[in-house]
């Protein structure tokens, strides 16, 4: 049999009929018209699946590190993994916000109840557990709990989108995932510093104020929060920070209310770490106005309420850093800014107050590895 095939006729673009070339063009068009979304879903799904696998690994690692820390420090009789697993799964039901009046107190109550209950539960693992170890275990537990939650939520959204072949549902997930992964990686990388009790980037505020507190008599201002009195160029200073070197941010709202009751404050200056924008240099110092304090918002609410009620100006000085730097081991650049920030704080005090006036200076942030 003689197959008289002309290759030029099959693939050539000059002829009137080139069936194979027509197929080469038409098949993908048909494929993409009818299955384009599904193909895109498959590609995106693979990317998300890889991220979920990573999140799962972070979750397991942080849990193992927590269990390892408890075993190493306290060698408890029974295996702590099961009990710690229960603590990791704790959840909080936030108060209903249909009627927002008084919601801040309700949120604060919920958060503090959880905090106190978790602390009591951790302490029950080993009766001899000191405050320092307890604070470190609590922070490691928070990290493991957050990573667990991130993994569960992302996995849930992904599986729901896959189950329903719901492409629009997977798109926001794909867009948000790089930000979530950045946070998750930052938390995972922070674990060694929290295990070893080393200062983190967020500790720059307590580090600045802690040095100014050295040698003075420290008093308890609120739970895990200390303050002392000092003087600078004829101004009375009230210095406030979380009680170091524990892993805690203290209770600044309560402490400020306590210090302000019965005393006249002429200015409040808050020193804190702030998240930098992309393109901004890390460890740069910036000044501003308003209560520079993160968290769920209840502490900021308390300070703002008090400042507004007594007409006290609130000034802020922040050290800019990335999420990774803020939660992880303090970098050389951030540590080096402490002296400059202290100088700027002194400048702020003299610029904004007169002799004989009083200033409340607050070092905001986690004071792990930073004394006073």
């Amino acid at each position: 049999m003689d197959l008289d095939l002309d290759v030029d006729q099959l693939f050539g673009s000059w002829g009137e009929s080139s069936p194979l070339m027509m197929l080469v063009w038409i098949i993908p068009i048909v494929l993409f018209v009818f299955y384009g979304q599904r193909i895109q879903l498959m590609v995106t799904s693979n990317e998300i699946k890889k991220s979920i696998t990573k999140l799962g690994a972070y979750r397991t690692e942080s849990r193992d590190e927590l269990v390892g820390f408890v075993r190493e420090r306290f060698s408890p009789g029974s295996d702590p993994a099961k009990r710690l697993g229960v603590f990791i799964d704790y959840f909080s039901v936030m108060p209903v916000d249909l009627d927002p009046a008084g919601i801040v107190q309700k949120i604060q109550h919920t958060v503090r109840s959880r905090d106190e209950h978790t602390r009591a539960q951790i302490k029950s693992l080993h009766p001899g557990m000191g405050e320092q170890d307890l604070s470190q275990v609590q922070t490691l537990l928070e990290i493991a709990s957050t990573l667990q939650l991130l993994y569960k939520v992302i996995n849930h959204l992904f599986l729901t989108a896959k189950k329903q072949n719901n492409f629009p549902l997977i798109l926001p997930l794909q867009m948000m995932l790089p930000f979530i992964m950045e946070q998750a990686e930052a938390l995972r990388d922070a674990v060694p510093a929290f295990r070893a009790g080393q200062p983190v980037g967020d500790g720059i505020g307590p580090m600045v104020v802690g040095k100014m507190m050295l040698g003075a008599e420290k008093k308890e201002a609120a739970f895990q929060t200390v303050w002392c009195e000092s003087e600078y160029e004829g101004r009375k200073l009230f210095l406030l920070k979380a009680k170091g070197p524990m892993s805690t941010v203290g209770r600044m709202g309560d402490a400020v209310e306590g210090i302000a009751s019965g005393r006249k404050l002429d200015a409040i200056i808050m020193v804190d770490a702030a998240l930098k924008l992309e393109g901004e240099d890390s460890a740069t110092v910036a000044r501003g106005f308003g209560a520079a304090i993160g968290g769920i918002g209840t502490e900021r609410f308390q300070i703002e309420e008090l400042a507004a009620k007594h007409d006290i100006p609130v000034l802020a000085i922040v050290v800019r850093q990335s999420v990774r730097e803020a939660v992880g081991l303090m970098t050389e650049g951030i540590a080096a800014t402490a002296r400059d920030v202290r100088a700027q704080v002194c400048e702020m005090i003299t610029e904004n107050t007169a002799r004989g006036q009083s200033v409340l200076l607050i070092g905001v942030g986690n004071t792990l590895g930073v004394g006073q």
Binding site: A196, L329, T331, E332, Q372
Partner: protein, 58 residues
């Protein structure tokens, strides 16, 4: 995974003398914390305190 990060950043402790301002750098030891008293200053006999603890990435 955690070990990998540790290998990247080495942890340094800077001790500073409050009297003469002398600074000395060393590695991190368990229990170190910022502003803790370290030892007597080798140059003036004053108090050496830990001035800062940080990670340096090579």
């Amino acid at each position: 995974m955690f070990g990998k990060k540790k290998a990247d950043a080495t942890i340094h402790v800077v001790e500073r003398c409050a009297s003469c301002g002398m600074e000395a750098e060393r590695g991190f030891r368990k229990g170190d914390c910022v502003f803790a008293r370290a030892a007597a200053c080798p140059s003036c006999g004053g108090d050496l305190t830990i001035d800062r603890i940080f990670g340096r990435t090579s």
